[in-house]
Amino acid sequence: MSDSQIPTQGPVPTPGTVQGEQPAPAAEQPSRFSGVLREIASGNALISVLAVVLALVAGAVLIAVTDPGVHAASAYFFGRPLDTVNAVWTAVSGAYTALFQGSIYNFGRPTFAAGIKPFTETLTFATPLIAAGLGVALAFRVGLFNIGGRGQMLIAAAAAGWVGFSFDLPWGVHLIVALVVGIVGGALWGGIVGLLKARTGAHEVIVTIMLNYVAFYLLAYMLRTPGLLQAPGSSNPKSPAMKPTAVFPHILGPSYNLTLGFILVIIATIWVWYLLSRSSLGFKFRAIGENPHAALTAGINVKNMYVYAMLISGALVGLAGANQVQASITSGFGSGIDAGIGFDAITVALLGRSRPWGVFVAGILFGAFKAGGFTMQASQNVPIDIVLVVQSLIVLFIAAPPLVRAVFRLPAPTVTPRVAPAKISGKKAVVTK
């Protein structure tokens, strides 16, 4: 090679250099602005927002397809297509406006105090979801899958309810005793799982599923047996009403349903954050969640940690159960007192990526869907089940960023693509078998 040939060598790769390394710095150089833009476009926050948008669009399609008005208009679609478009718009915008007004702010009310009431409803619905979600998330972080939220909530509700209606204690003390008994009830029901897993190696998924049914039938038996939980003089399987001293006080005055439970949930979130991120117990929990064998080698007593984790997880779910009888339904409860929150909590924990504050935000989002869903069902005749569809789609999309990127044609993250798969699988809520 002579010197005159050097300029032509530019585009031709020389054998000594790796081709993949050169374009990378070149791509970052052009301008700082496009780099920032790229960062935003590939960031987690945007993905989350787009996932919500995508799920809402899917919900809108479902609403439009099943709306009777749309059906009527689509019969003469080729004659007057705009009618169909109008009908779709009416159905979808009506439903989503109702969803918003039922969960965030109602512009139809005269004052701010009345207009913001839906948002306090959202927080009220979010309270048990966050508590139970924290419990499931904590178990996830230790590598345990707690499907037993239902059973733990039922036992906690029964225990807190029993203290709530059968004892006469001074105001304040009664509330705390009922709450503590409820939390202990949930903790014990969860602790059984941890103990069985630690001592016999029983799979926690089986044991939690089975204990859900055991708790359900146990509660059903106690509710229909006079002298246990059944209201005296009644033949219905229902407990007596709670004594006023055991009921959580309303924190924003009597016109709002928001109770002390929400404050408790905030405290619980801070406590779980402290436990997981700042305490030695939390460090052991996370070590086991990442790799139980490595944790064992490092000298952590894995079996005991399983017991502690399930005790704490059950206690947090128990807080949700106590909240149900001390705040949500204080006029006496039946065997459906858990209201499906034990299962919803799993989705909340997944959406919150098992991080305490993530769970908090996810719980509020799901609370908003629940509060708004009821308004939507009442005013627009859209079944509340659409909320389940939208919620699950959000979790599904957020869990799969590449899919959302592909739909919106967003660039891949700026980090080298080869790292991406490992990063995703490392970030997942760890569930080991």
């Binding site: 479902l62 099943t66 899958f145 499907i147 069985l196 001592r199 016999t200 190696g201 029983a202 799979h203 998924v205 089986i206 044991v207 599923i209 089975m210 204990l211 049914y213 055991v214 039938y217 146990l218 059903a220 038996y221 047996t225 299962f343 799993i346 989705t347 997944l350 079944p383 089940d385 659409i386 909320v387 389940l388 569809v389 939208v390 919620q391 699950s392 789609l393 979790v395 599904l396 869990a399 799969a400 590449p402 899919l403 798969p421 490992a422 995703i424 699988s425 997942k428 809520a429 569930v431 080991t432 078998k433």
Partner: protein, 433 residues
């Protein structure tokens, strides 16, 4: 599996000099303790709290070739004799454990059978127990569980944890009701149920294989999604047009000419609907396919050691995708049994947690199709036992009878099954490096 590993373990040429290895003596006390607890329960229940009277067992139905006489046992005497037998068996298990020998499966099966006969005679004192009816009902209740468990076994064996069995069953139930009603063709309904189940599970496969989302997350979320979708569509589409869209009718029972006349076995196994005959074929086909064909070997190797499978030229992710879809199709058939086989119409959340019980059966049956089938039959039997006992008047509150299968499962999982080990790579995405 035992046959395969047995063949592999025996080398064709044995070395001339025998090598004597040091052996560790492992004594497992779990089985004797579990059997001892049951034996103690039987002494207390059948002996101390024994009931007087005669227990009769009706063994024949009217259309059998041979009419077996009604078996009558004096309740207390039978209970005492049977509990002595149980104590002897438990003692034998203890002796085996003391000599550090394994307690055989047949011993546990015999023990369980004797315990069940003792319990039935105790519970039916002074009444007649329709044995055939009890077993027919049990098979009926087990069908969706068995299909679900087969789907679970295939999916987990190929390396994808299938928590979405519930969703596959529910999708199968919904679509089969809709298609069979709309076309008046029950067989089209069956086919549509398979397609629906396969669709649900292909979503599971796509998200876990392509987007590397945690498989348990996708499974849980899919359950919620299908529940929401079917509830929503039921409210908006099916229930307004119940007569035309949700009225599939029930498939006829087809007695098999000669076999259906055999006492007990005939009515239980050979006077059933086509779905149950498909189930027999499916169980055997899955078992044979998994352990005796090339397909099964490839499937299992993808779930046990994907790197090794890849090395010998198996496309791991393609194998996973198609087999998980197949698993969904099988589970979808189980869903069709709810609508076409037993109830004759879809209703909201009609699977009622059957998918989770099927998941428990998979783990209980140690990822083996035959054992999982028996586990599913056990659940079906226990559920049906409760309803039969409720009819003839049971001395135990019905809630405790309903709880029994779940408690037995917990005891069995903790005491007898213990540390189960699933397919090694189940739950882990395979990324070719």
């Amino acid at each position: 599996m035992t046959t395969v590993s047995g063949n592999l373990a025996t080398p064709s040429s044995t070395p001339a000099s025998k090598i004597v290895l040091a052996t560790a003596v492992v004594k497992s006390w779990k089985s004797p303790i579990a059997l001892g607890i049951f034996a103690l329960v039987s002494i207390v229940l059948f002996g101390v709290f024994g009931r007087d009277g005669t227990s009769s067992f009706r063994l024949s139905s009217e259309t059998d070739f041979v009419q077996l006489p009604v078996l009558a046992l004096p309740t207390r005497a039978a209970g005492i004799v049977l509990s002595i037998l149980l104590v002897l068996l438990a003692a034998y298990a203890t002796w085996l454990a003391y000599r550090a020998r394994r307690v055989n499966l047949w011993l546990i099966v015999v023990f369980a059978l004797i315990f069940m006969v003792g319990f039935l005679s105790w519970a039916s004192a002074g009444h007649t127990m329709p044995v055939t009816g009890l077993l027919v009902g049990s098979v009926g209740l087990s069908v969706p569980l068995i299909f679900g468990a087969l789907g679970g076994v295939i999916s987990e064996r190929v390396g994808v944890v299938n928590v979405a069995i519930e969703g596959q069953l529910l999708a199968g139930a919904f679509v089969s009701a809709l298609v069979a009603s709309a076309t008046r063709q029950p067989f089209l309904g069956l086919a549509a149920a398979m397609v629906a189940g396969a669709l649900v599970s292909s979503v599971l496969a796509a998200f876990s294989i392509k987007y590397l989302v945690d498989q348990v997350i996708v499974g849980v979320v899919l359950n919620v999604l299908v529940t929401g979708l079917t509830n929503f569509l039921y409210s908006t589409v099916l229930s307004p047009a119940n007569e035309t869209l949700n009225n599939p009718g029930i498939l006829p029972r087809i007695p098999i000419p000669v076999l259906s006349g055999i006492p007990i076995i005939g009515p239980v196994l050979f006077r059933q609907t086509i779905i149950i005959y498909i189930m027999y074929v499916a169980v055997i086909a899955v078992w044979y396919g998994l352990f005796h064909t090339k397909w099964g070997l490839r499937l299992r190797s993808s779930g046990e050691h994907p790197q090794a499978a890849d090395t010998v030229g198996i496309n791991v992710n393609r194998t996973r995708f198609w087999n998980v879809s197949l698993a969904g199709a099988i589970a979808g058939l189980g869903g069709a049994y709810f609508t076409l086989g037993s109830i004759g119409g879809f209703s909201k959340e009609m699977t009622a947690g059957a998918g989770f019980i099927a998941l428990a059966a998979v783990i209980f049956g140690r990822w083996d199709p035959i054992k999982a089938t028996f586990a599913a039959l056990l659940f079906g039997f226990a559920t049906n036992l409760q309803s039969v006992l409720a009819i003839i008047g049971s001395p135990v509150p019905s809630e405790f009878m309903l709880m029994l299968p779940y408690i037995v499962t917990i005891v069995a999982v903790a005491g007898l099954v213990g540390q189960v080990r699933g397919p090694a790579a189940a739950g882990k995405p395979y990324v070719k490096s």
